[in-house]
């Protein structure tokens, strides 16, 4: 990853691009490296698969997780907690915001425009090239324009996250990186991370993007799937050199 170790990182993208898995795994990785991390649920769109589910594991790693609690956990309501404004302004820790999908989900960021104007932030666009509407360069550019228009913020980096769930292989990741690279070049912004299933990271260690790999352990699995290595230990530090 490039330049995500400090400050405010806001993670946007279209529905199902993998924003939450990227946010959760990024928070876990930084925390396991000893960084002070806050992860905030800014998703006002999707009540099904959200970073709330990984909260306990992240908290065990010392991550401050800001999510609706107790009676509001399952509410089908656009809840944004007041402490998020304060958390964004803290300079002593990394802030990661998991934003809802599409331009509709990104609209929430407009309400933080005043705070973000005073605090350096990076707005990332997560791209999965196998998802509808972001499977072409034009589709990605259009989605970026929409997200920027509704969030009133500029996208400053791309998180390449191309996969096909269990059917992902190294070529799927390479294809996604190529598409993301085209988009990045047109917009003049960097690809700051390439998310890959942890099991694929070793195979990709010689790729040009190997310095930016974020190994992903899926935290949101369907009920018929069991996760290996469940527990706080899942976010192990994975230096590329060790892969």
């Amino acid at each position: 990853m490039i330049g995500l170790e400090k400050g405010v990182t806001l993670i946007t993208g279209n529905y199902g691009s993998g924003k939450t898995e990227v946010a959760v795994n990024l928070a876990g990785l930084l925390a396991s490296r000893g960084e002070k991390v806050t992860l905030a649920d800014l998703d006002i769109m999707n009540p099904y698969f959200r970073c709330r589910k990984a909260a306990a594991e992240l908290e065990a790693l010392g991550v401050r997780v800001i999510i609706p609690r107790e009676g509001y956990f399952f509410a089908d309501l656009p809840i944004v907690l007041p402490e998020i404004r304060g958390a964004i302004q803290r300079r002593d820790s990394v802030f990661i915001g998991d934003v809802g999908g599409d331009d509709t989900g990104a609209r929430i960021l407009g309400s933080f425009a005043d705070v973000l104007a005073r605090n350096p932030y990076k707005l990332l666009m997560v791209i999965n090239a196998n998802r509808p509407f972001t499977d072409t360069v034009d589709g990605c550019l259009g989605m970026m324009d929409e997200i920027e228009a509704s969030s009133k913020l500029a996208i400053g980096g791309i998180a390449a996250n191309t996969h096909l769930m269990d059917e992902t292989d190294a070529d799927v990741v390479r294809h996604g990186f190529r598409l993301a690279a085209e988009v990045a070049e047109i917009r003049g912004i960097p690809i700051v991370l390439v998310a890959v299933a942890a099991s694929l990271a070793r195979e990709l260690r010689d790729e040009p993007f190997a310095d930016r790999l974020l190994p992903i352990e899926r935290t949101m699995l369907p009920p018929w799937r069991r996760r290996e290595g469940t527990g706080p230990g899942m976010f192990k530090i994975r230096q590329i050199a060790e892969l």
């Binding site: 698969f49 998802r131 369907p222 018929w224 799937r225 069991r226």
Partner: protein
């Protein structure tokens, strides 16, 4: 076409387009709103129409009206919304028109919750609206199967001039899986002579479900039941998973629940205990003969559902005393875990 990673709801929307649907009406409700969102973007690209009704009541009747023209029509909703459509569904069945409804089921009764459930089994299978009618009800357990069933649902609706329902719990709508869109083999379909699509050069057709002459209404009901018997003969769909001689227990489960049961079955197999799964794909017509056959010689049958016990009545009706029938369910949006189901099966061994 390369595989795409799609949410069940998006895939259901795309499958409708691939199946030739150009008329989609909907009122949003969690957990199915992504179908509307997807088709709002996609329909204009293919020259189709997405119209949001002012309520599900309106949408149901828009479907009724559009179906009368012989065009392929489609709507999606979730449990409370499907309840509001029941009047229209009864009219559509009575008037013998083809239409496809997808219900991405959430917990009830009432407004209930927004998480996955299978508690609309009775509503869809036993007739949620009034009168003697049946719908063909198809229950996918993967996103790919949702696509495949959608692709044939419109053909089946045309074949029987009858409403068809795709029923998936909230998980089917919300989860993402890789999918591809394969055209199914073409079905021989009857010409739509009944369609009210302009009567220039021919006699007008009248589409109605109102028959004040009792003998005429009785005749209409008898015609419907000729079709339903044909469905029972030709449209039973199911999957047998690990069903074999020596099964100690037979599980009957559909949709997401069946997938969880497969995990359980693999665990038992590793322990040397043989458990089978009969997964109904068509909930109506229910695979009665297949369930009965699979229940031969087992110690017990267990119906696993995300309801308080609905399909279990059809399981009992099929097993007819060949083995004791038990039930395990979680409700309210709670999805049963493999561990819980394992405990229930161990009680039966």
């Amino acid at each position: 076409m390369a595989k795409k990673l799609m949410k069940g709801n998006e895939a259901i929307g795309e499958a409708a387009i691939q199946a030739g649907v150009r008329n989609y009406f909907c009122y949003p409700i969690t957990p199915q709103s992504e179908v509307a969102e997807y088709l709002a973007k996609r329909m204009p690209e293919v020259g189709g129409m997405f119209l949001q009704g002012e309520s599900e009541l309106a949408v149901g009747n828009m479907i009724f009206g559009a179906a009368a023209t012989g065009e392929r029509v489609f709507t999606t909703s979730s449990s409370p919304g499907i309840s509001l459509m029941q009047e229209a569904i009864s009219y559509i069945a009575g008037a013998q028109l083809p239409a496809v409804f997808a219900n991405i089921v959430r917990g009830g009764p009432g407004l209930g919750g927004i998480l996955p459930a299978q508690s609309d089994y009775f509503q869809s299978v036993k007739g949620g609206g009034h009168g003697d009618y049946k719908m063909l009800v198809l229950a996918p357990s993967t996103v790919q199967e949702a696509v495949d069933l959608m692709m044939i649902a419109f053909d089946l609706a045309d074949k029987y001039t009858n409403p068809v329902m795709i029923i998936g719990d909230g998980m089917i709508g919300q989860m993402m899986e890789p999918v591809e869109f394969k055209k199914p083999p073409p079905m021989a379909l009857p010409p739509k002579k009944w369609a009210a699509n302009g009567c220039k050069g021919r006699d007008p057709v009248i589409i109605r479900s109102l028959f004040l002459d009792p003998l005429r209404l009785e005749q209409n009901n008898r015609e419907l039941f000729v079709k339903y018997r044909r469905m029972q003969a030709e449209e039973v769909r199911f999957e047998r998973y690990n069903v074999e001689k020596g099964n100690k227990v037979l599980i009957v489960a559909y949709g997401t629940t069946a997938r969880i049961c497969k995990t359980v079955i693999a665990d038992f197999k590793a322990r040397g205990i043989n458990v089978g799964l009969l997964r109904p794909i068509s909930l109506y017509p229910f695979p009665m003969a297949a369930v009965a056959e699979a229940a031969e010689g087992v110690k017990a049958v267990l119906s696993v559902e995300m309801s308080m016990g609905q399909m279990v009545e059809d399981v009992e009706r099929s097993v007819l005393g060949r083995a004791p029938v038990g039930f395990f369910g979680r409700v309210g949006g709670v999805v049963p875990t493999p561990e819980e189901i394992t405990v229930e099966i161990e009680k039966l061994l």
